[in-house]
Amino acid sequence: MEHLADLLLLLVLLTCFLILGTTRLTTCIRAVAVQGGLLGVLPLVLHQHWSLHTLGLAAGTLLVKAIVLPWFLTWAIREAAVRREVEPRVGYIASLVLGVAAVAAASAVATRLPVPGNHPILLLATSLSCVIMGLVVLATRAKALIQVVGYLMLENGIYIFGLMSMDRVPFLVEVGVLLDVFVGVFIMGIVVFHINREFDSLDSARLTELTD
């Protein structure tokens, strides 16, 4: 099962790179949906003894991260008629280089820290990589919707980390679901703003009226 877990984690990293490198918003959303699906399977692979808790977590994660939120994002694109480009402030190649640097930094940190609960080092490295790459997307993309995708990556990284202590600390991973509330609020916000016609576009770079 160890190999399967490693494979899943590598696929998670690949989806992160896909999001960093793509020009199309719909591809980003599909990638983050696949990532959510992988994360739903991950607890089943990591914990051989399937308890009701593990099964519930897997089902809940699949439902929220792989189905509900991606569907919600797609709905927002249609509803708000967002143009399909990602519009990075930093080029795609530069983003990918940043992603590689993120994985390198995360791996360096992961080998120096003791991994809790005899989990593979790759788990810790992937978790930290996702967090950093999510922050990169948040910082370098101009569109509000793709920033939401970046936030989801950040959140997924935190979720992977939480999986390592889910046996020892009850309710800890589940608390992370509350971050999804933010995602929901963001998407609702984008749509409501657009319906109100307050904005001509959903470019958060245009949110610059308030300055000193």
Binding site: L154, L172, V175
Partner: protein, 468 residues
């Protein structure tokens, strides 16, 4: 029972307010009154922990709870007058009460994941209130607030996970993430994970606190939110966020890693003072000015915490003062904003103008107001620790900030007005709250009541500090 009621009563009150068609202001006041009465009950005898020790009150929590509850009652009285002038909308009182419930949860959580849940609750409860005016500017403000706060809150959650990891294999009697067990078993915590946890908690909750350089949401949010919401954020939300940082410091101190925690606390504190000084000068909008002044004061809070010793006590005292004075200033500034052209405010609205003038002296740390004492205590601790350069820098920055705030506010109060408004009749509801806070700021500067002093030194003691 009492501990559960402190969270449940405002939460139920929020639901109740949503169902009520009118008179939201009085509903708010009665809920806030009940809440403060319950807090007074906790002062008489600290209630026993509930939920396996996840919910408990200690001195530190009680300080924050008292500050938030008192400020909330004052803001509620102000809301009565405010809601007579402006349409509040159906959810206005509900979101305010939801904030009170979440803030109470933060104050009495001894389980750090539960504390995080409360902190997320405060973030979400305030968002609709910032978007109250529903125009483009408030939209921009609420978007910035949500994006930056949500990233901060996510990093704080990661820090909480790190802390759970630092606890390692849990023996019996070692409950995960429960403060008492973290402190008691601090020697067994894994130092590398603990350090990582501290950094993430500091940056995460520091974002909510509005420390520079994570402060960028603050001027926009405070500037655009209704004055009473800004008052609640600058006095109440900051106290909750500071509690998050204080809890992390408590654990790190118990683990003997205080020398690791101090430099980042000092750095964030000093940088906040620098940023505040740079942006206060030449500021033309009073609420944005007050927001930068809030960056200054949260900087002083972590500076005192970072110096340790007497500085920790100074920080606790400053927390109380900050809530009073920021509440006073934002509410008085809200009154000024009701006048079309508020220049020469002392003529157009003498009572609000006078309150703003008192607030000006209080917020810049002039005697005989409370902030003078707390800033002096922190400065004494800085000097006592042998950091002469830090003390000199803090003094110079405080002087710059004084000049910036005073020049803008005096212009507002005394400046010539080409189109002077006729002296307005000022609503008593809108004056009562700030007047009470002004009195409180004065009392704290003249003589700190014995029980409060005792509580503050207990709280400082838990953080490894001492009482002057």
């Amino acid at each position: 029972m009492l501990l559960a009621a402190l969270v449940l009563i405002p939460a139920l009150g929020a639901v109740g307010a949503y169902g009520r068609p009118a008179r939201h202001g009085l509903w708010l006041v009665s809920m806030a009154g009940v809440h403060l009465a319950l807090v007074a009950g906790a002062w008489i005898a600290l209630p026993a922990p509930i939920l396996d020790g996840w919910i408990a009150l200690d001195a530190l929590g009680l300080v924050v709870l008292t500050v938030v509850s008192t400020l909330f009652l004052v803001v509620a009285t102000y809301a009565v007058g405010y809601l007579r002038r402006e349409r509040g909308g159906r959810g206005f009182a509900s979101w305010l009460l939801a904030f009170l419930a979440a803030a109470s949860l933060v104050a009495e959580s001894h389980h750090l994941a539960l504390l995080w849940v409360g902190m997320e609750g405060t973030t979400l409860a305030l968002a609709p209130l910032i978007f109250h005016r529903r125009d483009r500017r408030s939209l921009e403000a609420v978007w910035k607030y949500l994006v930056i706060s949500s990233v901060g809150i996510a990093l704080a959650l990661l820090g909480t996970f790190f802390l759970a990891t630092a606890q390692g294999d849990l023996g019996p009697g070692n409950r995960p993430l429960v403060l008492e067990d973290l402190v008691a078993g601090a020697a067994q915590l894994h130092p590398a994970w603990l350090k990582a946890a501290f950094v993430f908690l500091l940056v995460g909750y520091g974002t909510k606190l509005g420390l520079a350089p994570m402060h960028t949401w603050k001027p926009d949010t405070y500037g655009e939110a209704p004055a009473l919401v800004s008052a609640l954020m600058a006095g109440g939300l900051t106290s909750c966020a500071f509690l998050g940082i204080a809890r992390a410091t408590e654990v790190v101190t118990a683990a003997g890693l205080v020398s690791f925690a101090r430099p980042p606390l000092l750095a964030f504190g000093l940088l906040s003072l620098v940023v505040a000084a740079a942006f206060v000068i030449g500021q033309s909008d009073i609420k944005r000015l007050l927001a930068y002044s809030s960056v200054e004061h949260v900087g002083l809070l972590v500076l005192g915490l970072g110096i340790g010793g007497v500085g920790t006590y100074g920080s606790m005292l400053h927390l109380v003062n900050n809530a009073m004075v920021k509440g006073l200033l934002f509410l008085a500034a809200g009154n000024a904003a009701l006048i079309a052209s508020p220049r020469g405010l002392l003529r157009a609205a003498p009572a609000s103008g006078a309150l703003l003038l008192i607030g000006l002296f209080a917020v810049t740390g002039s005697p005989p107001f409370g902030m003078f004492l707390s800033e002096l205590t922190i400065l004494r601790a800085v000097l006592g620790g042998g950091h002469v350069w830090i003390a000199a820098a803090v003094l110079a920055l405080l002087a710059l900030i004084f000049i910036g705030i005073a020049s803008m506010m005096l212009e507002l109060l005394y400046g010539p007005n080409p189109a002077p408004a006729p002296a307005a009749r000022e609503s008593r509801w809108l004056l009562f709250g700030p007047a009470v806070l002004a009195l409180g700021a004065l009392v704290l500067g003249v003589a700190i009541p014995g029980p409060l002093q005792h509580l503050l030194s207990q709280a400082a003691g838990a953080l490894g500090g001492s009482t002057p």
